[in-house]
């Protein structure tokens, strides 16, 4: 499973939305495309899914040029781009069945997997209703189900949690995390915490060019806790990686717990916390890159 972008450029008149992108993403895992609004994230995903055509360069999916052989290349891909709408007089079930036929999946295989997709995306309560009556969140969930039909090895998701309530957002993130164990997920978002939570690699795009490309291991996410006195030892199930320096504790944060849970844990052990600072390498990089826009203006 591989997406390869070679000198990929997209211009709208005089505006260059994407400028000479060379990128290779392969193997399973989640790759996050971060960037402010108008950075070129969605343009990149639209080019990959043949919604728009490149001005220059090419996109290859598993070695197949998307513009030249879209039917073959997109056979490996499931996608959710922008906020898709569906034919309003069709039910969610009919939309899934239509997608199945286009993806060349036989009915027997479809019947074996559809319940799992319906349960995972939690669309069972409205799947028999016409999509014209769906809310934004319902459409988003149906679009995710559509992306999963045919068991594609690559899934392209453009702000997949848009329009969902906090509970729904968390469920979708968990789903993406699980999918990334066996599939290549390319996900665009402008939420740093979302990228940190679900992505193995992050790419920051700004003004149509790739400004930063790093794995999550490169992105330090630290919590500096200053205690009122030195010499404390910590016994905690949550905090695994930390160093103590005088009355300062530097915790390497993971996505398994929230900041307040760490503090609660320390207070529970009778340790008095003076103040807490958070250091987010990814956030710092993101802000420094996007701040360049303001300087340019």
């Amino acid at each position: 499973m591989e997406i390869f972008m070679n000198s990929l450029t997209k211009k709208y008149g005089k505006i260059t939305a994407l400028n000479n992108i060379n990128l290779n993403v392969k193997n399973h895992g989640c790759v996050g495309i971060l960037g402010p609004n108008g950075a070129g994230k969605t343009t990149m995903l639209k080019l990959i899914t043949n919604i728009i055509k490149p001005t220059h360069g090419e996109v290859q999916i598993n070695g197949i040029n998307v513009s030249e052989k879209p039917e073959k290349a997109l056979g490996f891909v499931g996608s959710l781009i922008e906020q898709p709408e569906f034919y309003s007089y069709l039910t969610g079930k009919e939309i899934l069945d239509f997608t199945r036929k286009i993806k060349g999946m036989n009915k027997e295989t479809f019947n074996n997997i559809i319940d799992s997709i319906i349960n995972t995306t939690q669309i069972s309560s409205f799947i028999e209703r016409k999509t014209g009556n769906y809310s934004r969140g319902m459409k988003q969930r149906l679009a995710l189900a559509v992306a999963m039909i045919g068991d594609p090895e690559i899934i392209i998701l453009d702000e997949p949690t848009f329009g969902l309530d906090p509970k729904g957002m968390k469920e979708i993130r968990t789903l993406i995390r699980n999918l990334a164990r066996t599939k290549l997920i390319l996900l665009s978002t402008h939420l740093i915490y979302e990228a940190r939570e679900i992505c193995d690699r992050t790419i920051i795009i700004n003004n149509g060019i790739i400004e930063h490309d790093s794995t999550m291991a490169d992105n330090k996410f630290l919590l500096k806790i200053t205690l009122d006195s030195p010499g404390h030892s910590i016994v905690s199930n949550k905090i695994k990686n930390y160093t103590v320096n005088g009355n300062e504790i530097i915790v390497e944060k993971s996505n398994d717990y929230e900041n307040f849970e760490v503090i609660e844990d320390l207070i529970g052990q009778g340790i008095k916390v003076k103040y807490v600072e958070q250091f987010d390498n990814l956030e710092d990089v993101y802000i420094s890159i996007t701040n360049k826009n303001k300087v340019n203006i």
């Binding site: 919604i51 039917e71 922008e82 898709p84 709408e85 036929k101």
Partner: protein, 272 residues
Amino acid sequence: MSKFSTVYLQYVKNYYRSRSFYLMLLLISIISIMMIYFSFKYINNFPKFLGSSSIPITIKEALFYFLWTLILLYVPVFSAVFFGSPAISSEIENKTAYFIFPLPINRYKLYIGKFLAAFTVSFIIMIIYLIVEVGTLSYLFHSLPTIYFYYSLLLLIIFILTMTSVTFMISAIFNKNTYAYITVLLIYYIVFYAGSFIIELLYKIDPIYLLSDAASIIERAYMNINTADFFSTPSISPAPFADIIFSALIMVIYFIASFAIGLILFERKEVS
């Protein structure tokens, strides 16, 4: 089932469930009822300006087929406007393109599948009218349709294909349905009809190469009276076979050209 037939059947279903289909069905039903009323009322009592007493029965029958077809000619235009005009632009305006374009199917299959679906529903609407026409006139004249009916039917099929193709091409240009609707109506009724009149008036030539003029052959297959041509000499005889072939050829050229252009535009269509 192939992807092409999946698309075709899906869009037939989409059209069949749309309001446009029922609107056209209502329109054709009203027109059919009015034509039945007209036929029964005037079969033995022609208006004086048509000179009923001197018309032989075969001419009378041809005249009735001519009048039914004259009304029918407007239906493919409306049908094409309803089914064809929003065909491509609606995918962009309604954002369904974000669902359909990333699916693993070549765009030309989508275009052709959708085109044939629009043609099918238009043809179904016409068939309803034609069945009523043949039923009514066969009952009134105690005879089955002549060969001219089949000529006219064949020409009508070509005209529906052409009108659908022209509207698909226009729809592929725009991203908004309203623009596509207005443009199709403007082109057909203003550019073609008014253009035809102006050309005839200024240059004293019959612009047979205009689609509206060529389409008049569908009625002229019964009687050579061109209602789109103000300066032609009417004749109660059917149009010559050469005229039928020539007009059919003009429509086929429109069909091929508009289909090719529409397909190219759709292949390059972007949702941005």
